[in-house]
Amino acid sequence: MSRLPSGGRVDRARSLSFRFDGKTYRGFSGDTLASALLANQVRLVGRSFKYHRPRGILSAGPEEPNALVELRSGARREPNTRATVAELYDGLDAASQNRWPSLALDALSLNGLVAPFLGAGFYYKTFMWPAKFWESVYEPAIRRAAGLGRAAEGVDPDHYDKAHAFCDVLVIGAGPAGLMAALAAGRAGARVILADEDFLAGGRLNSEVARIGDEPSHAFAARTVAELASLPNVRIMTRTSVFGIYDGEYGAVERVSDHLATPAPFQPRQRLWKIAAKRAILCAGATERPIVFGGNDRPGVMLAGSARSYANRYGVAAGKSVAFFANNDSAWTSAFDMKAAGVNVTTLIDIRREVAPALAARAKALGIDVRTDTQVTGTTGQPIGGALTGLAIRTGGRGGRLAADTLAMSGGWSPSVHLTCHHGGKPVWQEDIAAFVPGRTPPGLSVAGAARGTYGLGDTLAEGARQGSEAAGDLGFTATRPDLPATEDTPAGITAFWHVQGSKGPAFVDQQNDVTAKDLGIAYKEGFRAVELMKRYTTLGMATDQGRTSNVNGLAIMAELTGASIMETGTTIFRPPYTPVSLGVLGGHHRGKDFRPTRLTPTHAWAAEQGAVFIETGPWLRAQYFPKAGETDWLTTVNREVKAVRASVGMIDVSTFGKIDLQGRDVGAFLDKVYINTFSTLAVGKARYGVMLREDGIVMDDGTTARLGPEHYVMTTTTANAVKVFQHLEFCLQVLWPELDVTLASVSEQWAQIAIAGPRARDVLARVVDTGVDVSNEGLPFMGAIERTVMGGVKARLFRLSFSGELGYEIAVPARHGEALARALMTAGEEFGITPYGIEALGVMRIEKGHVSGNELSGQTSAGDLGFGKMASTKKDYIGRVMAARPGLKDPDRPAFVGFKPVDPSQRLRAGAHFLTIGAPADMAHDQGYMTSVAHSPHLGHWIGLGLLKNGPARIGERVRAYDPVRGNDFEVEVCSPAFIDPNGERLRG
């Protein structure tokens, strides 16, 4: 065990069991998987992406490029999980990735031997010949060798939530700056959200040993968090990553249950937050940079601050003998801390000739061997697993060797500026700290602490407090700055240094994507020098860690090669999300049948009882047909339903049509402006079919509008266009003609509407209306619309309309009576054999009758194309009138609406077939139009179709070719009138 005898923010009383690659270990509550593995002296945790090199744990945070594991198993398996942020729980099960047959002995590590061929751009240079081998041989082989974890194979059993939050001040990051910012704004009374991706608030205060006032830094953090938690206006969200800024709102993902084996009942695994904050303060800290030298990827080589974090926060010694390699003072402080915590720190290697005398003295006092002006030029490791055993070093010109099982390195710190770039801001290079600091920040966002390049602890606390009180003050709160406790500030000198020249073995810049300093040299030589090109050519920074530890080193090395400054070289753009976000949480509950809401008709339960087969039409579930026992295919059922309607009577729920109530003095005038025909002249008690156009002259929708009173109309729209038409009418009223006195209300939900059709429809209707209601041909003539009562006092609207071509009525009742009406109609129609029918039969009958529907209202057809030309009024203006007169829309050669029947009646017509004149070649130049709708007509005993044919109405009787190469059909059809039955409408007027 490498667990130190005491210390750390882990709960040593709570021991947890976990498994890694099938072996059982123990850790403590408060551990991450990485700290628990280190405590168990597991140093090799994965194989690299391209070369299968053995890799260990580089960091102690979200920047981790190497320690990626598959967490959990089965349908919950999560690939590429960073062990450094995976919170340990009892029973955690993890496996290493990208290795075969085992982690220690990986067959594909031979890839390392052919590394010279796998360098930058190898995809583009090798495997070029023979060309056909790429898809069949090379790509599958590369994909097998190069890879990360395996995705889960089952459907994710957990659910994911979405929520909104609102606050005055959002503080991102709960380190020293964030805690002080939240405290200042919270004490002032502002609504504060403090979010941190870690499960323990405090940031560096938990990883470092410093005194703040008269208490250790971790105690200061705990006390401040406790005070914040006691303020009712402050919300602390741990395990919550703010990952992006989107037009002034902040996207965050809260890992509600990732630290549990399975979520608690009714709890999501993760929750997506959309946070609307008036101000935000970014206190995201900084990420330490590795140094690029040969063999810097060995298990045992890690970041200095992370090694310190393992000692102080987790009570774990990263190794038995720890050497440091650095260019800056912070690494020295880390070394001293670790030594004090009981870790065997042997050597401090620094590239600098001179360091602050206080540091040198302290090192001497602690018995640490100091090597200044020294660089690490190579590493040696164990034959199996590769873990670090020793270092090759160079002091001045002289080489040497050192034994060490752990090397803690530090190339300096990079402020976490990512979120400041999400509105196009570009980071700025600051020479004295050798780091990029935020440039222009998104509106409302300021930056405090290490994220801004302020590294000293006292300065960080002060900056957080100042920005917190300023943000609250800007929002009108009276803010006083919290008293700042005394701190001892540690030296923070740095000499920029990136890369050891002439070191032995591959020197990795991006460890996750296996990009070396040599690859950058290749990119330079081949001209891919611009930073965005270098990135794409070498894949530097393009892995799931988004180059947290590699971007700055990469561009500094490119700057060295080109001789340009780092600022001139520039940086790549940080795009959201800051951290990987699962697709599950972005989808939330919207998956499977919950992808969108399902709307049910008022008679749904009744239809289900009747054995209906349902179909989705837009958001609605509608009865498609009602099979009876013994009916084995849908066509048999539909034929029966159609015949029953035409012979006696049938009924169908038509509540899904859009219904719009219009009231006011000017409704008639308004309807005249939106319909091509006239409605102001419609008599009270009558309905009229109307067609409306878009302003470009194309048909938008059709439907029947009835006048119920002098200033009261009710419009119906098609099911599909209900929302669109309503929005259009609102636009016309509010924007185009606000002077009109018209009030609209959507009443689609409020009214259930059932159509009854067939020769016995009137008999059925007469039995459901109340005594004294006259539904005779005189009392309710064709296109009549009256308000009466049914079923003993239920108010109802009775319309005499027909879509089927039969004598037909539509009865509208308040939606809550819809199901009762369906049952009452079934009872009333029993003696006539009333037949419930679905939308398939409805479709067949409208095709037999030659009515247009959605297939014809395709957004490409004019009123003239559909045979409505004569309906259009010439005495008024209406939406679309001017543009409908364009020559292109008036062209008599446009495909126009006609009917079709097969010359050979046994042929089945297909919608989508294109028309060709007989003998013409089958190509687009000879295209004459296409079939829009087809049905099998039980009335005629063969298939019939509707379609759009060039100059169609003038070609009745002509034969054309219906060509359907998709389904392999090619036969002759005869052009005919679209009204296949009762062309004069005698039935519906009867």
């Binding site: 037009d247 959309k274 509105h423 302003e695 470009d696 606000p738």
Partner: protein
Amino acid sequence: MRIPCPYCGARDASEFAYLGDATLTRPDPAAPDADEAFHAYVYLRDNPAGAHSEWWYHSAGCRRWVKVARDTTSHAIAGAELAGGAR
């Protein structure tokens, strides 16, 4: 993005449906050049980088058409007013 609906207050953009340019005026259909004017009205649009006046419909709210002044480069919203004034 949040849109300051004059009727409902600041609301999430997902409650709104977008239409487009709010500076257009429906031409006089009786004018002699109505064809040309309607062609421009229906099809021709500027695509400004910067200030843009545009129609949004608060479909999941008050159902009012709102004229929003939005900067197309930053999505900053300078103001919003109801169509046809307050009714």
